[in-house]
Symmetry: C2
Subunit: 291 residues, 2 copies
């Protein structure tokens, strides 16, 4: 187990990492909102393996939460996070205060148009602007060579990659596979909100996504039919209050796929993303599969 430096000050972490980079060290970065789980540690471990130094940030970003969302109740446990990070071999924890990230007079927004309004963006207006803005700030503060993001938040990952491309940000974005519980539930900090009965029923989301993928692979059906079957499966469950979306999209563009025709007619077809968000009484769950 290595020593971990906890740094709260923006200038201090910036100068420390700049010095490291000057000496030739490759720096990896894993931005988190804390309350770390196996999904996070898989990212951190990948960075530790691939980079000379790894920075994990812990910052619950207020501007990516809607007014009716769970910013105030978002789970926090810094001691636990510290112990988890220590075991990964990461060297730095960056934990800025809210007022140092957003002064009273903060005015700038980074926005990836269109992509931020579909899927989760339809149900969380402003969410992805908040994500892009804080991620760009963190990128500028840390200045990493590589940043690691999980595929569970596929849309977030996609939007960040687009922002990096559009703004000529010189950081390599690595996407890492979703980490799951044994029963298939995608691991998320928000799973802690689930009641026993909800937790028992939550794996249905991934099961339904997998079933939809299997139906596509069998080829003898349509998107419309697969979607109908999937929605029936989910809405019949006692714990699922509502379904925000269950979408079939081109994984390279996030454009909606209305027909499978073009996906089986020629070589080199783009992959399909099936992504969904459902609401249980206690929390909202998202997940996806890529074929």
């Amino acid at each position: 187990m290595s020593e971990v430096k906890i740094i709260k000050d923006i200038k201090t972490i910036h100068n420390e990492i700049a010095l490291l980079k000057k000496s030739g060290a490759i720096t990896g970065f894993v931005p988190t909102m804390g309350f770390l789980h196996k999904g996070h540690t898989s990212l951190i471990e990948k960075s530790v393996k691939e980079c000379d130094a790894t920075v994990v940030s812990i910052f619950i970003n207020p501007i990516q939460f809607g007014q009716a969302e769970d910013f105030n109740n978002y789970p926090r446990d810094t001691k636990r996070d510290y112990n988890i990070i220590r075991q990964t071999g990461a060297q730095y924890i960056f934990m800025p205060g809210e007022s140092s990230m957003y002064g009273d007079n903060f005015k700038t927004t980074v926005s990836v148009k269109k992509l931020g309004k579909i899927m989760c963006g339809r149900y969380r207006p402003g969410h992805f602007d908040g994500v892009c803005t804080v991620v760009l700030k963190l990128f500028n503060i840390i200045g990493p060579d590589i940043a690691y993001f999980g595929q569970k938040d596929f849309q977030q990952l996609f939007i960040i990659k687009k922002m990096v491309e559009d703004l000529n940000i010189n950081i390599n974005i690595k996407e890492c596979p979703t980490v799951r519980e044994e029963d298939g539930l995608a691991i998320s900090s928000r799973n802690i909100y689930l009641s026993d009965i909800e937790r028992e029923n939550a794996p249905l989301l991934f099961k339904t996504l997998k079933a939809a993928a299997a139906m596509i692979k069998r080829k003898n059906t349509s998107i419309k039919k697969i979607k109908k079957t999937s929605l029936e499966l989910l809405s019949g469950n006692c714990c699922i209050k509502s379904i925000d979306y269950f979408d079939f999209r081109n994984r390279s563009t996030l454009e909606e796929i209305k027909s499978l025709k073009n996906y089986f007619s020629r070589e080199g077809r783009p992959g399909i993303l099936i992504a969904a968000a459902i609401r249980m009484k206690s929390t909202r769950l998202i997940d996806n599969v890529v074929i």
Copy 2:
């Protein structure tokens, strides 16, 4: 006269400057839209004096022009620009193509809220978003230590400084005084549009701003009266078609100043910006004075 390298490729300039910086060189950057004049050369010469290497970019940024504006007619003369830059001692000209800056699928916008909607922003919707987005791109491509901007575009400079602060961009922004013709007209690439009679009358803008400043200094009057006098002076001129704005603002916040009371009641009062935009038949002129 030194050699100037003209680089059109984004990766090439990025890697070249990154290498320079690794060797410890301080890099200065002057973003321009070309058709250089004494205002630009004053910025470039300052950078050459203060930095080990200076990059001048020439890029007429389409996304900062409105649909009815002069993007297509904006003056261009690359050979002339090249000769001017060569005489300043700058080492690099970065001249990217439009398609390499904005691919078909470009989607990201950087926006400094509120500040982009007042003054020139009211008359050029989207203009400052376009400016911020291209400036951030250029900053990321070049990665300079210092960037130089002129005070003639006071609002632009102010917004860029705010963006740099908000997004934790590690670049020192230096503001440089407006360069003027002998008769006081602020030098601008767009002055070339002026007809003889318009050119003759154009210095009235600066004269009126100076007169307003003098009235403030004399103290025995009100903003309302000074504004009325100034507007009368301008609107009585044969060449001035309309006045977009003639504003009195706190130079540290850009908040509008409605009364001079607080500006003479105590020590340490913030400076006052008087900024205006007028339209002649051939073009729009902006200028400002700071007290």
